[in-house]
Assembly symmetry: D3
Homo-oligomer: 261 residues x 6
């Protein structure tokens, strides 16, 4: 058995509560792996308290990449713990050959062998077109996706409502996805829904994917197989440039701040 692989999990927003929830889910998955992999869960230092759309995604990408680049030397791979087609993944794949995924991609890939059609149950309606665009990019089409269903909750609701109320809203959206849209597998479309996976699965009777756990499991395969991001095409590494000065104790973005113009 080889030396344990080291995984960096990063919550791209700055919410400490969300980071904690993610960390618990990551730790649960790591425990199952019996020492094959170690994981550190952290978050962006600056940026936005939650990612509610493309504006937030761009801001959080900036600071997430900044943080990851500072820590990257000590890890074998990176998992972005946000259920969106988070741009930081594309950016980091140019910046390093170490495997990088986000949990949305991992959840989709894990669901494919379990049923012909999956649905994502997300919170606000704003995410429907954004996640659909992500699916199109990840699989190349929407054919395997039955639907993206909003549970009608705002971000605030997930915090202020009781667990039962939240679960009822998720169950309702999931059942519509199964009955109306032909979903055979349900993906929980938020890093913060991990704890509800089992209960929802029992209620629905179909497989329910927890994206954080799917992310950890996907990284096991990539890291144990010593795979790496292709240097050809989409993720061609950028040529080094004079303005990429090294700034001690700061991320690469900070280097850009001071060095560029």
């Amino acid at each position: 058995m080889t030396k344990a692989k080291r995984l960096l999990v990063i919550n791209p927003n700055t919410s400490k509560e969300m980071t904690l929830v993610i960390q618990q889910s990551v730790d649960d998955s790591i425990k199952k792996l019996g020492g094959l992999m170690e994981a550190t869960t952290t978050s962006a230092d600056q940026g936005v308290a939650s990612v509610e759309g493309s504006f937030d995604e761009a801001v959080s990408t900036y600071w997430t990449v900044d943080k990851v680049m500072t820590l990257l030397d000590e890890y074998d791979g990176v998992l972005i713990a946000c259920f969106s087609h988070h741009i930081s993944v594309k950016v980091l794949r140019e910046a390093t050959s170490k495997p990088v995924m986000h949990i949305m991609e991992a959840a989709i890939l894990q669901s494919l062998p379990l049923g012909a059609k999956f649905s994502i149950v997300t919170d606000s309606a704003h995410w429907k077109p954004l996640l659909e665009e992500g699916i199109q990019s990840i699989l190349g089409s929407m054919e395997r996706c039955a639907s993206v269903r909003s549970s009608g909750m705002t971000a605030l609701d997930t915090v202020t409502l009781s667990v039962d109320q939240v679960m009822n809203k998720l169950l309702e959206a999931s059942q519509l996805a199964i009955k109306e849209d032909g979903a055979e597998v349900i993906l929980l479309g938020c890093a913060g829904m991990s704890q509800l996976k089992k209960d929802i699965e029992i209620n629905l009777g179909v497989p329910v994917i927890d994206a954080v756990s799917a992310g950890v499991m996907s990284m096991v395969g990539l890291l144990l197989s010593n795979l790496f991001t292709s240097p050809c095409g989409m993720y061609t590494p950028l040529p080094s440039r004079p303005d990429e000065v090294s700034v001690p104790n700061q991320g690469i973005m900070m280097a850009y701040h001071s060095g560029a113009k």
Copy 2:
């Protein structure tokens, strides 16, 4: 750490040599998993010596399902070790809720996070349209696939040619896939090519996927997460029928032979 998961790997043809090659690749992957998973590699008892097209696939499906159904009770999941969109997977997903994959699906899913476009390098030209149909079914479109390239070898060639000759043919087809078709990741389209993975990867400079290893790694995630095939839609279990008589020491297909008509 939980009890080790038990994986059944089955070579759907009857070739002992091929089964041995697969077993070595499976054992290599299992070793990396440090006791998380155990695997048994076996083959169909009857059927065809190699799968060269749809006729063979249908025959081998019959006998592979027969064998798997006899052994299934002792395993947590099944991996079909044939690089084709082997129908036995679809059949077995109806017959059991335990996760079932084939190595073609696993290889494709493992490649997706590593580059925007993958190519499959296969042996004879007959496989090009068959594998393309499989990709369409697995991902819902051909968008992520740069090409399926035949190396121009017959099945016989892979046995009679020297390792160097085989590798040169695979390298040539891979380089065309990268240069002409825009491939960023290469999938070796045969269960018997596992040993060549590292050398080809070094030569090409892009990630090369060994499908058997990808299969084992994909099953780790599904089994550790206690996931199961959805009982809705595509893989709805068949209702039990009077003619499914139990026949001691025989597979379910044999039961059909005697009980049906």
Copy 3:
């Protein structure tokens, strides 16, 4: 006028009742052809009593191919009389250059000139994803298909319910397909629904396709034009192999049973 073409129609399951229903529909179509074509309707000798999913399809493929290969010398073409994307067609196209179709393909092709969108009305919900996968394969996309609608009947229902009850369920599903999904043509998605075609058509006011009849009519064109399955690409004939021993009075599958391993 040339010598009458000889068509082999095979019910891929072992149900005598179903074979009889198919035979009636075939005979009705043959009568209209005024001696151009003769048809024999038979069934698999072993396998499954009805095809309810992919497991049954694989079993019935095995025994259907076995039967067809035994009889093939005396016919000019083969029609598989099961409304599914039955794998035996793909298998037989490798095994013979004589034209082979199944009735699902024939029904779809016959409907295309009659309206922009067709819907298939099938019995159980299990068939919806299976038939959709078939359409994708036959036409290359789902664009021409308005929907696959389940009538909510089980296989048992079609036998135990009265003709009126069956027809009401089919009419209801068809009317929803027209009104909700934009269907302009209706395909009856079961070989056993042939007799209801006229009544349903009168009720709906749109063209209704009887798949068995469509199958016979499609074969007329192919056989009179002396067309054959292409030996290139998807249906490349398998090379002959030492284990394909000739076994007197048995189908090719039986030869595999004894000769292989």
Copy 4:
């Protein structure tokens, strides 16, 4: 056996030579049908001498519809004998519920059961995008089409070159389609190429579709099955209008000329 069905075949341009070539091919097919169907081959009275693009198609549609509407009462179905996605078909499907097809659609539908991918070999390069648009419309996607290949001939060439020269150009384009594009079946993309079908087929070794013959055979099935164009959706009949005056001895287009404004 029912009364012979009456088919109207119309060459949408005014070339008497082309009409004769079409008539021979129609008569050959009709002979094979042993009295099941009778056919009249005619042409537009006015319009263009050949259809070389969209401008010609629009002009020829006008006069073809005019001619067909005058004759329609005496026929059971209409075949437009031009290898293009000729608009007159769409127009006539609104004007009558009798089945209407063009030979391009018939050729494509006839080829689908014979191989996974077809190519169309046409004359001038102008037709490549036009025919591709037609395929997209007829099948809903380009997935089943390997390619549309121009033989590099002008319309003039097909008349001035020797038969051998024409056939060599068609063979060359066909062989490229098979080798480079993966074509398994070849469609001759011109009504005037019917006589070359057999020789080309022998040379290529793959099925070659003669579109005129395919058109006659497709109509047999539709007419013997008493099928009709759907009155719903795409081909909804136009409401009658006050300006559709009846003009003796003139087509409906002439009625529009005088009655409208």
Copy 5:
């Protein structure tokens, strides 16, 4: 500032009322352009009083092309003012290199930067499949289209109902498109709905596209940039032919009438 560009706007039917409505909308847009462009709004001289389907489209194409060819020398570009994928555009692009568009294409292109999904609100249900086919052709797919919704009005209704009644029907269809189909932008699918744009937009709160105005604005960019229709591929100009005789005071179609045969 360059000399004012001259735009020919043509209503392809013969309705004087419709031409007037279009002219008002054109004049409103031209006014905003401060002398950059001048426009003449006219109509076909013969043909149909309104375009209700493919039959009418073919007739109106004939006479619209006839009229345009007579006037073309004095204009820099042509706008076909009918909300359909009107064939005259394709025809005219072969006949002249001057930019030609119809208002449906202009409306779709104008809507794309304003939201991820647009819906078209049209009158009768007959237009739904016809417009969907147009979108497929214009964008190459239906991905950006949320839906085509019929308001359930007949052509007669738009004339006989009060403005309030018409607007209520349009609002109702638009609101369903937004709520049920995910539309983010609404396109008014009729040249005669221009005046209602502002009120509907205020009511809906999403951008509403007036197709006539979009047409004028699209032509500004093409004409000021001196762009032209490509002579390659789809719109290859037809070779000149002996039967294209010049007939004084008549359009080119009339020349065909007399010269052809």
Copy 6:
């Protein structure tokens, strides 16, 4: 004539030379508009000197949005002058309802009425998959795109090579796109290629789109029509948040820097 519309054009990198080139092209287009629109061309204050991939795009998005948000009050619309599917557009459409486009989208939309297939000629090979992903997002499919062709130049080449050398490389790539890929219109895939448009067009004989000019022209139509980004779905504005503090003389990104965490 209304008050002149004010357009903000922003080069998302910090290169003063590139900004100047863009400004010249913008000014040329503005001149043609005779006072209808005024434009200011500026650049990001910080970030990257050139956008060579996704990493640079993310960094430049951050600083481009920052700059635009500071200036936005004084403008009616924003044009991002980078030939990529630059994320800043998506971000800004959430941040403001004023129309926002990038020049890649404008160039594609302007090309659609001029030919059936367009090709983009770009510099380095890295851009091929990135631009293809952009086209998929902008049009919903790749159907209208013939190809994305790299001219094989590095960013450095475009500066160090002579104008003749650059043009020869662009011509060569364009001619391959026309001949091999079926391109009918060519898009110059870089903001810095504007000056070469006319010469390339004369050489090729097909329409050549200058993206900066296309961008200005597209904005004319949107601004004169008082159109706005839809507040529904993809670009739903973010809810205001307590940490969006106002920071004098700084962009909104700076506010995030200080206020967030």
